[in-house]
C-alpha cells in the first residue's frame, strides 16, 4: 500500500507569495553558503541528493490523499491538491474512486479543476457518509458558484452512501469509515491492504481520545501501522480553540504511544504556519514522542516514527518510511 499526499494544508489553500519566496530563497542561500557551495551545479547536486532535507517547502494545497495498492487507487477528499493529481493521472486511467471525510469546502474545491470530470468516458465514484453529499457537489456546479453546470459535466458521476463502520471491499483492499470529532461531523477511514493498515484521522479535534471515550472507534486505532493525524494547531493554540474541530501533533503522539501505532503522519497544517514553524513543530513533536515512548510505552516498544506531510510526499507502507522527512 502506498499513500501520496497531494495536499497537506488545512482550511484554506496557501498560495506562494513574494514574502514566502523571499523566506525560502534566503533560507536556501544561507544553508548553501554554510555548506560551502559556490556554483549552481553544486546546488543542483545537493538538491537532487536531498542533502538539504525534504521538504524545502510544505506547499499550500488543501487535503487530497491518494491510497494505492496494486491496481487499486482511491483519493480521500478533494482539496485543491486534486487538481494536480488529475493532471498526473490523465491519460492513464478512466475510473476514479473517492472517499469523503466530510463536506467542508477545503475538502471539495479541487473537484472544479479536476480535468477528468469534464471528459466523456471517465467515471467518478464518490463514497460518502453524509447524506447531503450529492447536494453539496451539485452546489459546486450550480452555474453560479462555477460556470459549468452539473448537468453539463461529461463524465459519469456516481454517489455511494456508506454507513459508519460499513466496510468497502475492493479486491484485497478494505476501507471502513469511523467517527471523528469535527463540527458537522467527519469520518476517518481505515484502509487495509497487503498486510498493512493506514487510518486517515483528519479533520478531527480528538476530544474523544481516552479508550473509554473512543468506544466503538477505538479498534480503528489499534494494530495500526500509520495514523494520518490532524496537526493544525500547536497545543497552546488548541487550548484557545475549543470546538474548532482540529487537533495538535502531541495529542497524536499520546494516542499513538498508548495504542502502539508504528508511525504518525502530521497533516492539515494551519494555513498561517510558515515552513519554518512546521519544521520546528515536527522537531518538537519528535522530542515529545521520544520522551513519551520511554515514559509510557510498553517494554520493548519501538520508537514512534513521526513525519510531517507536504504536497507531493509519497509513503510506501511496506517500508513505513518517508524519504527525507
Amino acid at each position: 500500500m502506498r499513500l501520496k499526499f497531494w495536499g497537506a494544508r488545512g482550511s484554506s489553500p496557501v498560495p506562494q507569495s513574494h514574502a514566502r519566496a523571499v523566506e525560502l530563497v534566503r533560507g536556501l542561500v544561507t544553508r548553501a553558503r554554510e555548506a560551502g557551495l559556490t556554483t549552481l551545479a553544486e546546488l543542483d547536486e545537493w538538491v537532487a541528493a536531498d542533502r538539504f532535507g525534504k521538504p524545502l517547502a510544505y506547499g499550500g494545497h488543501t487535503p487530497c490523499t491518494e491510497i494505492s495498492h496494486g491496481d487499486f487507487s482511491a483519493f480521500v477528499d478533494m482539496g485543491t491538491g486534486l487538481r494536480e493529481a488529475g493532471a498526473a493521472h490523465m491519460g492513464k486511467r478512466k475510473d476514479y474512486t473517492f472517499f469523503m471525510t466530510h463536506l467542508h469546502w477545503d475538502h471539495l474545491i479541487g473537484l472544479n479543476f479536476f480535468v477528468p470530470i469534464f471528459i466523456p468516458g471517465h467515471t467518478l465514484t464518490i463514497y460518502h457518509v453524509h447524506k447531503t453529499a450529492p447536494d453539496s457537489f451539485r452546489t459546486l456546479f450550480n452555474g453560479v458558484n462555477f460556470p459549468i453546470k452539473w448537468e453539463a459535466l461529461a463524465s459519469k458521476i456516481e454517489f455511494r452512501e456508506l454507513k459508519p463502520y460499513e466496510t468497502f471491499i475492493c479486491g484485497d483492499v478494505t476501507a471502513t469509515p469511523f467517527a471523528l470529532d469535527h463540527p458537522g461531523g467527519s469520518f476517518g477511514y481505515r484502509f487495509e491492504a497487503g498486510g498493512r493498515s493506514a487510518a486517515i484521522g483528519y479533520d478531527s479535534e480528538f476530544k474523544r481520545i481516552s479508550r473509554e471515550a473512543l468506544g466503538r472507534d477505538l479498534p480503528f486505532y489499534q494494530n495500526l501501522d500509520l495514523l494520518v493525524f490532524d496537526a493544525q494547531y500547536d497545543l497552546e493554540e488548541l487550548l484557545s480553540k475549543f470546538d474548532w474541530g482540529h487537533a495538535s501533533p502531541t495529542l497524536g503522539v499520546d494516542l499513538a504511544v498508548r495504542e502502539g501505532i508504528k508511525a504518525l503522519a502530521l497533516i492539515h497544517h494551519d494555513p498561517w504556519a510558515s515552513d519554518q514553524r512546521l519544521r520546528d513543530s515536527l522537531a518538537a513533536t519528535r522530542r515529545y514522542a521520544e520522551k513519551q515512548v520511554k515514559r509510557r510505552g510498553v517494554a520493548g516498544q519501538p520508537p514512534l516514527h513521526v513525519f510531517s506531510c507536504y504536497d507531493g510526499l509519497e509513503v510506501e507502507m511496506d517500508a513505513l518510511t518517508a524519504a527525507g522527512v
Binding site: 473509554e212 497545543l235 484557545s240 495529542l251
Partner: protein, 153 residues
C-alpha cells in the same frame, strides 16, 4: 490520577496525585460547587501528557470563574508544563513550587519547597543559598533559575 477534596463554605482544598492524562476527565468533571477560594496541592503529580494538559486547562477554566484558585507545592513536572504551555496555569496564582537540587561535592539529591512570597513572586528571583544535608557543601539546582522560573517572570 487521584483527587481528594476537603470542603468548607469559603475554602476548598484539593489534592491531586499521579498522572494527569486523557483518563483524568471524569475525575475533574466531578468537581462541582467550588468554594470562593480553592487551593490545589500538586506535589504528588508525577506526569502530565498533552491530553492531560487539555483536560486540566478545561477544568481550570471552568472552576476559576468568579473564584480565586491557588496552586500549591507544584511538582517539577508541573513547573515544566507551566514553562512550556503559557495557559497551563490559566489565571491561577502560584503559591509554591518544589525544586530539585544536587550537591556538587557528594552528589546527594534534595528537593526544596520555594514559595512565591519569599523566593519568586513579583517578577524577582530571591533564591536561597542551600547547603547539602549530608556534607554541608553548596547545593546546585538541577535547572537554571531563569529557565525554571520562566513562568513567573
Amino acid at each position: 490520577m487521584s483527587l481528594s477534596i476537603t470542603k468548607s463554605p469559603t475554602l476548598d482544598r484539593l489534592v491531586l496525585a499521579g498522572v494527569i492524562d486523557e483518563n483524568a476527565q471524569p475525575t475533574l468533571e466531578a468537581v462541582k460547587d467550588v468554594a470562593p477560594v480553592c487551593t490545589i496541592n500538586m506535589r504528588a503529580v508525577e506526569e502530565v501528557n498533552s491530553c492531560g494538559i487539555r483536560e486540566w486547562v478545561t477544568f481550570l477554566k471552568r472552576i476559576e470563574v468568579g473564584r480565586k484558585i491557588v496552586l500549591e507545592e507544584c511538582s517539577p513536572e508541573i513547573v515544566d508544563q507551566m514553562n512550556l504551555v503559557r495557559s497551563f496555569r490559566s489565571k491561577a496564582e502560584i503559591a509554591s513550587v518544589w525544586r530539585e537540587y544536587a550537591c556538587a561535592s557528594c552528589g546527594e539529591q534534595e528537593s526544596h519547597l520555594l514559595d512565591a512570597k519569599t523566593h519568586f513572586g513579583g517578577g524577582d528571583l530571591r533564591m536561597p543559598a542551600l547547603a547539602c544535608r549530608k556534607c554541608a557543601q553548596a547545593l546546585e539546582p538541577a535547572v537554571e533559575d531563569d529557565e525554571y522560573f520562566r513562568f513567573s517572570l
